[in-house]
C-alpha cells in the first residue's frame, strides 16, 4: 500500500475532506457555477505555480515571476495596440518569449555567480517591475481599449449553462490551457533527461555534475521555462479580466509559493510533482474563495491562508523529523 503514503494522495484526501466540510456548511459550494468559477480561478495561479514548482525541485525559489508576468503582459498588449495586430498565437508567443528572456537573466546569475536564487530573483523582480512602471508606463489599459482577439479568446467556454433567472455561466476553456500546460510540464519532468536532471540537481548538485548532467542547461531550462510560463499566464490573465494593469500581481509570489509548498514540493529541492502542485493550488484557491460561501468575512482570507501554510509546513517538518529519528 505504498501509494497510500504518497504525498499526492494525502493532499487529495485533505482536499476532499475540506470540500466535504465546506459543502456541509453551505451546500451551494457544490453548485456548478461555484465549481466553474473555482476552476477558473485556478488557471493563472496554477500556470505560474508550474514554473515555481520546477525551480523549487531544483532547490531554488523564485519571487520574480509576478514581475515577469506583468511585464510580458503589459508589453505585449501595448505592442498589439501599437501595431494593430490581433493574432492570438503570436501574442502569446511574444509574451512567453519576453518571460523566457527575463528568466534567462535569473538563470545567468544563478549559474554564473552561484548566488542564492531568492536574492537573485528579488533583484530581477525589482528591476523588471521598476523598468516597466518607470519607463513603459503606469496607465491601465481598459476593456474599451483591450485587443478584442485576446478577450474573445479568453471568453471561450467549454460548457455553458443558463440559470433559472436567465443568466448564463460556463466553464472557461482556459482550464484546458492550464491542464495542457500542466501535462507538458509533467511530461518534461518525468520523461526527459533534462527533467530528471532537475530532480537530480535538486537532490544533490555536486553528484549531478559528477554524473555528467549539464548543469548550465538544467538551470537555464527551468528558469527560462518558468519565465515563459509566467509571461504566458500574465497575458492570459489580462484577457480573462479584460484589463491590462501594470501594477497587477503584487504579492502574488507568496500565494503561489504557498500553493506549491502545500502541494508537497520541498523547499530544499528534489521533491515535488505536477499533480501535487495542482492539488495545492486548488486547495489554496478553494479556501480563499470559499470563505464567502462559509459566511466568513473575507477580511479573514489572509489569516486563513497564513494559518494553512503554517500548519502544512509544521506537519511536513514533523514528518521529516520522525523520518530522521
Amino acid at each position: 500500500m505504498a501509494w497510500l503514503r504518497r504525498s499526492e494522495v494525502v493532499i487529495a484526501g485533505i482536499l476532499l475532506l475540506a470540500m466535504i466540510l465546506i459543502g456541509l456548511v453551505n451546500p451551494a459550494f457544490w453548485q456548478a457555477d461555484n465549481l466553474f468559477s473555482l476552476m477558473r480561478s485556478n488557471v493563472i495561479i496554477g500556470i505560474m505555480a508550474l514554473g515555481v514548482l520546477m525551480i523549487m525541485i531544483s532547490g531554488g525559489i523564485d519571487v520574480s515571476f509576478p514581475a515577469f508576468a506583468v511585464a510580458a503582459m503589459y508589453l505585449t498588449v501595448k505592442f498589439m495596440l501599437w501595431s494593430g495586430y490581433e493574432g492570438i498565437a503570436f501574442a502569446f508567443a511574444m509574451a512567453a518569449m519576453i518571460g523566457l528572456l527575463l528568466g534567462a537573466i535569473n538563470a545567468f546569475f544563478v549559474y554564473k555567480f552561484r548566488m542564492i536564487p531568492l536574492i537573485v530573483t528579488l533583484g530581477t523582480g525589482s528591476m523588471v517591475r521598476g523598468f516597466l512602471l518607470g519607463v513603459v508606463g503606469t496607465s491601465m489599459i481598459n476593456i474599451n481599449k483591450m485587443p478584442d482577439g485576446l478577450i474573445d479568446f479568453a471568453k471561450i467556454d467549454i460548457v455553458s449553462m443558463t440559470k433559472a433567472d436567465g443568466t448564463t455561466y460556463g466553464l472557461t476553456a482556459m482550464v484546458l490551457v492550464y491542464l495542457g500546460l500542466a501535462l507538458i510540464v509533467h511530461m518534461v519532468l518525468r520523461y526527459t533527461m533534462v527533467g530528471r536532471g532537475v530532480y537530480a540537481y535538486g537532490g544533490d548538485p555536486e553528484a549531478a555534475s559528477r554524473a555528467g548532467f549539464d548543469i548550465r542547461l538544467i538551470l537555464f531550462f527551468i528558469y527560462c521555462f518558468a519565465g515563459a510560463l509566467a509571461g504566458f499566464a500574465g497575458l492570459l490573465h489580462a484577457g480573462m479580466i479584460w484589463l491590462a494593469n501594470p501594477r497587477d500581481f503584487v504579492g502574488l509570489e507568496l500565494d503561489v509559493i504557498a500553493a506549491v509548498v502545500l502541494g508537497g514540493a520541498s523547499i530544499f529541492g528534489g521533491r515535488g510533482s505536477v499533480l501535487g502542485t495542482m492539488l495545492g493550488v486548488f486547495m489554496l484557491v478553494m479556501v480563499k474563495n470559499s470563505l464567502i460561501i462559509m459566511k466568513i468575512d473575507t477580511t479573514w482570507q489572509r489569516v486563513v491562508v497564513g494559518v494553512i501554510i503554517i500548519i502544512a509546513t509544521a506537519v511536513t517538518a514533523w514528518r521529516d523529523q520522525k523520518r530522521k529519528a
Binding site: 520523461y191 533527461m193 527533467g195 554524473a211
Partner: protein
Amino acid sequence: MTDPFIELRNIRKEFAGVVALDDMSLTVREAEIHCLAGENGSGKSTIIKVMSGVYQPDRGEILIRGQQVPRLNPIASIDHGIQVIYQDFSLFGNLTVAENLAMNVQLREKHRLMNWRRTREIAREAVDRLGVELDLDAEVGHLPTAGKQLVAIARALMSDARLIIMDEPTTALTRREVETLFRIVRDIQSRGIAVLFVSHKMREMLEISETITVMRNGSLVADGPTSEFDEALITRHMTGSDIISEPYVWTPPSGAPQSPRLEVRGLGLKGAYEDVDLTIRPGEIVGLTGLMGSGRTELALSLFGMAPADHGDVKVDGKPVALRTTQEAIAAGIAYVPEDRLSEGLFLTQSIDRNILSTSYEALSPGLTIDKTRAAEMAAETIDTMQIATPTGDKLVKELSGGNQQRVVLGRWLLTDARVLILNGPTVGVDVGSKAEIHRKIRDLAREQGLAVLMISDDVPELVQNCNRLVLMHRGRLVEEFESAGTSEEAIGDKLKAFR
C-alpha cells in the same frame, strides 16, 4: 602478474603554492585488488582526483594500458573505464534505486528522453551483475549505508569499468557489511576489473589486497605485494616513524583512595548500548575502541548530553550529575572533542579567538556584556599553552593547519573547568609531527591538571601508546578491559578481529 592498467609517474600537483603531490607514482594492474594507504591528508584524495580527471597534474605523466594520456578530464577518465565511488557515494537520495542505477548509462547514451522501461532493464541488469537483492523502487535516501554503497558499486559496474576506485569504503559499515563488501570486491576482480581500495585501516588492507602502495606527504614511500607488509611496517611507512615514544604510565597515588573523576554505573540507551560501567580516576587516560556500530560514539555523546541515556547514573568527582543537555554536561565538567573537526568542531570563517572562547562567552559575561579584556587574556593564554602557531588570535581558523586547528578545539575546553575530557578520534587528519605533540598535550592535561581522559579511536597503536587502560566495546557492551602495560597491539587487534 597482469599488465598495468594505469600508471601514474612522478606526479606533482600544487594548490596555490601548497604541494599536495610530489613525485607520486602509482601503478594499478588489470584485475588486481590494490590498496592505497596513507593517513588523512597524505594526498590520497588528490591522487584519486588526478585519476578521475578532476585535477590536472602540474608535472608527471599518466599512462593507461601503456598509452600515454596527455590530458585526462572527467569524461575521458570514465571513457577509459575508471569509476570512482566517493565516500558520499554521489547518489540521489530523492530518486529510486532503479533511476540511480540507470542514470549514468542513459546520460552516456545521450538520450534526450527518459525511457522508464529501459531504466528498469538497466537497473535489473546492474543488480543481477552484482548478484545482490535490491528493491528497485525504493528511494535511495531510505536505504541504509551499506545499501547505498551497493547501489553505487552496481552503478559503477554498469559503465564498463576497468578500474573501480573506492574511497574509504568501510568507514560507515558494520563488520558483517564489510564482509559482504569484500566478497563483492573479489567478485568484481574475478571479472577482470581492478579495484583500488583507498584506506587507512591496516587490517582491512592486509585482508583484501594483493598489492599495497603507501603514500605520505604527497609522495610514494613504499609499494609491493601485500605479503611483504605487516601492520607495523605499513604504520611505519604511513607515519614516517615507528611510534617509539614512551607509553603512558599512570600510577595510583599513594595514601587515601581518591574518588574517581568519572564514575558511570549501569548506563544504557535503548538501541545503542547497555549496562555500561566505567570508572576513570584523575590523571588516567582510558582508551575506548570497538568496531563501527559498537555503540562507542553513542556512549560518548550520552556523556556529553547530546544523546541522553535512558537509565543508569553518572558521577563526576563523586557527585551525581544529570546529563540531559550539552550545557548540563559542560557545567558538570565534561568536555567533548568531536570526530569530524571541520564539520563539528570548528567555526572555520571565524577568528581563532572566537573559536577558543566559543564555549565560554556566557561565563565571560558577568553582567550582560562580554568582559573584553578578560576574553582577550584568556584567548591569548590558551594560544600560548596550546602552542597554536599564529601571530594573532584575529586570524581565521580556516587558515591554520590541521594540527593547529585540533589544538584550538582542545584549547576551548581548558577554559571551561573541564575535568573529564572525551576525545573522539583526536588525531584524525593531523600530520605526524602535530600528532605526537597533541598526544603530549593530552598527557600533560591528564598528568598535570588531573583530568580524566576518555580517548576513542580506531587506531589501536595510538591507544596502546597513550592510554594506561583500554576498554573494548562490542554490541553496546563493554566486554573487556586491559592494562596497557603488558598488552600488545596485536592482542587487541586479534580481539577485535574475533568480534567480526
